[in-house]
Symmetry: C2
Subunit: 217 residues, 2 copies
DNA sequence: TGTAATGTTTACCAACCGGTCAAATTATCA
DNA sequence: TGATAATTTGACCGGTTGGTAAACATTACA
């Protein structure tokens, strides 16, 4: 028999789970660094430490691998936004959302680049996810923010563009990492860049650049 | 004779100028949409309306085309930052820098995506430009911002991360356009998105989200 | 243990890709 | 006008790419 996935037994083998895991890990590495078209199956196979036909036994096509990867990663990628809590203190919620997103950019840059590559090139493989689950989630949270503004808890502002601004500023440190490093240089506190970014962004979103009362001195 | 570019005459033919122009326009279209590796010479030739060998008569390799394109575009892309003026009013300067960058994202999204693709995939072709001219320019302007902060004209903040924040928030509307459209939907004021973004960002950077005195009501 | 299902490999293919070549065509200008 | 240089094209090439076929190896389990 030559049925690859979803064989007769329905239940996935231990080997299947292990190999699919290794493949998706390798696929993340390669897709995130090169985009869909720039990635090659041979490359992924090499990173996964197996032969190309072996890899294609588990995922019949390059597209199937990419789709499986997207499905697997998208959920966790949106977790921080899901945790955005309507009941909490608005400023604290926004602050913690920024912090969480920045931690994701630091700890999961490949996931960030995976989506960035995809969206940048017109999102040919994830259009449905953007217009469906993503839009729905953003709509929901935008409503929360709008309510906060209406209640006078934060300044009146367009909630969608606020979310875009948080996304872009935080993911910048993953997606444009080489540029950030190049500009900061190694002498220029390049290594503390995530802490510096956190300080800067929390302050930016809360206070803006207006001169504030100096607490002391 | 088969000398392609820089022929005996030294002076470029009218035909040369026209064709190179058409090629670079097509190259911008294709490279920005697909990245370097994702773009094919055939594709560029088709968009430019000429045969592949003909195209390769003007640019010997795909790399040469890409390099010529980068050289041509990088300068104008950095213009807004160059115009950043140390003598001006700080808040006004920042506001106008944001506005200009947002206009660039609206009017020249392909240029933005060209660099985004490149940087996202590790900047293999523009590393020198990042570490050289770009870093130098940012260093210079960062010093201006630092001086403003020291003089108490704006809040103390990390000037590098301020620049990163302006870059990321504005370019987001070019680089992640499909995502922005998907989330906003067509009903949701999708068409006025650049005006909305301008209003939001100018306010964000100047005031932050803190509750401000309501002018009336 | 035997056997059927699952997993792996070697060899291969057709399409695509960047690039070349030589011949044919067109522009330039003495 | 004629000859020389510039431009354009179709045919082609070697390497890469996504994917297949079939033989071989291993595992699970009655």
């Amino acid at each position: 028999m030559v049925l690859p996935r979803a064989a007769k037994t329905q239940r996935r083998t231990r080997i299947q789970e292990e190999k699919e895991e290794r493949i998706l890990e390798a696929a993340l590495e390669v897709f995130s660094a090169n985009g869909f078209r720039g990635a090659t199956v041979d490359q992924i196979a090499e990173v996964a430490g197996m032969s190309k036909p072996n890899l294609l036994y588990y995922f019949r096509t390059k597209e199937a691998m990419h789709r499986a990867l997207i499905d697997r990663v998208l959920d966790t990628w949106l977790d921080p936004l899901r945790e955005f809590n309507a009941e909490g203190n608005p400023v604290a919620e926004i602050r913690s959302y920024i912090r969480r997103k920045l931690e994701m950019a630091r700890d999961y840059p490949r996931e960030s680049r995976l989506f960035a590559n995809e969206v940048l090139q017109g999102a040919p493989h994830i259009e449905d996810e953007l217009k469906g689950p993503l839009k729905a989630l953003v709509d929901e949270k935008a409503e929360v923010i709008r309510a906060w503004a209406k209640a006078g808890k934060i300044a009146k502002c367009d909630p969608y563009h606020l979310i875009f601004a948080i996304w872009s500023t935080t993911q910048h440190y993953a997606d444009f990492d080489v540029q950030v490093r190049a500009v900061l240089g190694q002498g220029n506190a390049g290594e503390g860049r995530f802490e510096d970014a956190a300080r800067f962004l929390e302050r930016l979103f809360v206070d803006g650049l207006q001169v504030s009362e100096q607490p002391a001195a």
